[in-house]
Symmetry: C2
Subunit: 188 residues, 2 copies
DNA sequence: CGCCGAGTTGAACTGAATCAAGAAACGTGG
DNA sequence: CCACGTTTCTTGATTCAGTTCAACTCGGCG
């Protein structure tokens, strides 16, 4: 719980009152490894904070999934596009490890936006942060080769390679597992 | 000016006071075709509303540019990542037609965020909207072929094909102009 | 022990990039 | 309004990175 509070204080100065208003709407839930948090076609009802765990976003396919995002400890997680528009999600969200979440429902978040002055600032900063990540991802997909994307992960998030099966990484950087295997051999 | 106001009223209920506070910080500027609004390496100082015009975002390259976004009339335009972080932009922004903008500086926007209750709601909704666009773009780049992306433009934004050189469209959908030419032949 | 999923490796195939050249459209100045 | 030069678009031939299909290894786990 304190981890969440620290995240929020980084974003905006929260009064004791605002924090209370916010935190009483959070509920703690645990999930085992390989649990599906949201199935394609369902509408996302939660904005969640990851106390502990690894989350994978993917579009399920006949032959193989298309994995396009990972999220780790101490970050927010949500099928945020489905959440914002309250329409069915195009993709699935699942845990890759045992996971602990603090969750707030869509309805409760709207209440926070209405009732607290800090709410909209938090919402704005959260949206801006997500926009920045997606912007970098767009440029990476258009501008870099699969090998460059792999090297960046190797440099910036090496733990990702230890904790996540390579076939998901391969999909994330936009190639088949075979092609990733060859990239790895070429490098080392 | 009224067009901007209509856009904002769609986002959030603006009091006469809030609108005044906001609108007095806007300045109108005109640009000819092919004008550079922001050069790579410069820091974006403006969030702008397009009264009229077409804008192109691109990463300049030795051989050819990498065009990754277009924006049209009655929308907001900014190198928003550079704007938010106030760090140098990785890309350029230029006009593709004669253009009229209403612009607000970074400093003035921060003042609006501090001084008006509606400011942060507008900021939140704007950030959410941009996030949604980038999310769709990410899935499109990962999930669809260049041909599918072209067909989508043909279906949803045919005017784009009339007003923008094909070489920019080619880059936007992620192929060379030669490949796009062959896609077009294959289809018709 | 045997099974199963993950990872690696090889060989053939494929779609797009690259290189090159010609045709069409556009703009500018006379 | 035409002539010229530049840019954009198209088409063909070659090359190349990555996919696909297939086989094999390795490491857990029932």
């Amino acid at each position: 719980m304190e981890a969440i509070r620290r995240q929020f204080v980084q974003l905006v100065n929260l009064s004791e009152q605002d924090w209370h208003n916010f935190s009483t709407k959070l509920s703690r839930q645990t999930f085992p490894k390989k649990a599906i948090l949201l199935r394609k076609g369902q509408t996302e009802n939660y904005l969640s904070f990851i106390e502990k765990g690894i989350i994978r976003f993917y579009i399920p396919g006949e032959a193989s999934d298309l994995t396009f995002n990972f999220v780790f400890d101490n970050a927010f997680v949500s099928a945020y596009d489905s959440f914002l528009t309250q329409t069915p999600s195009q993709y699935c969200v699942e845990t890759l490890s045992d996971t602990v979440l603090w969750r707030m429902s869509y309805a409760d978040l709207q209440t926070v936006y209405r009732e607290t002055s800090a709410g909209n600032t938090i919402g704005r900063k959260a949206g801006e942060g997500l926009f920045l990540k997606k912007s970098q991802r767009e440029l990476s997909l258009l501008n870099e080769t699969a090998e460059e994307r792999y090297l960046k992960i190797l440099r910036d998030q090496p733990r990702l390679l230890q904790q996540i099966p390579l076939k998901y990484i391969a999909s994330y950087i936009g190639v088949t597992p075979q092609a990733l295997s060859r990239i790895r051999r070429r490098i080392s």
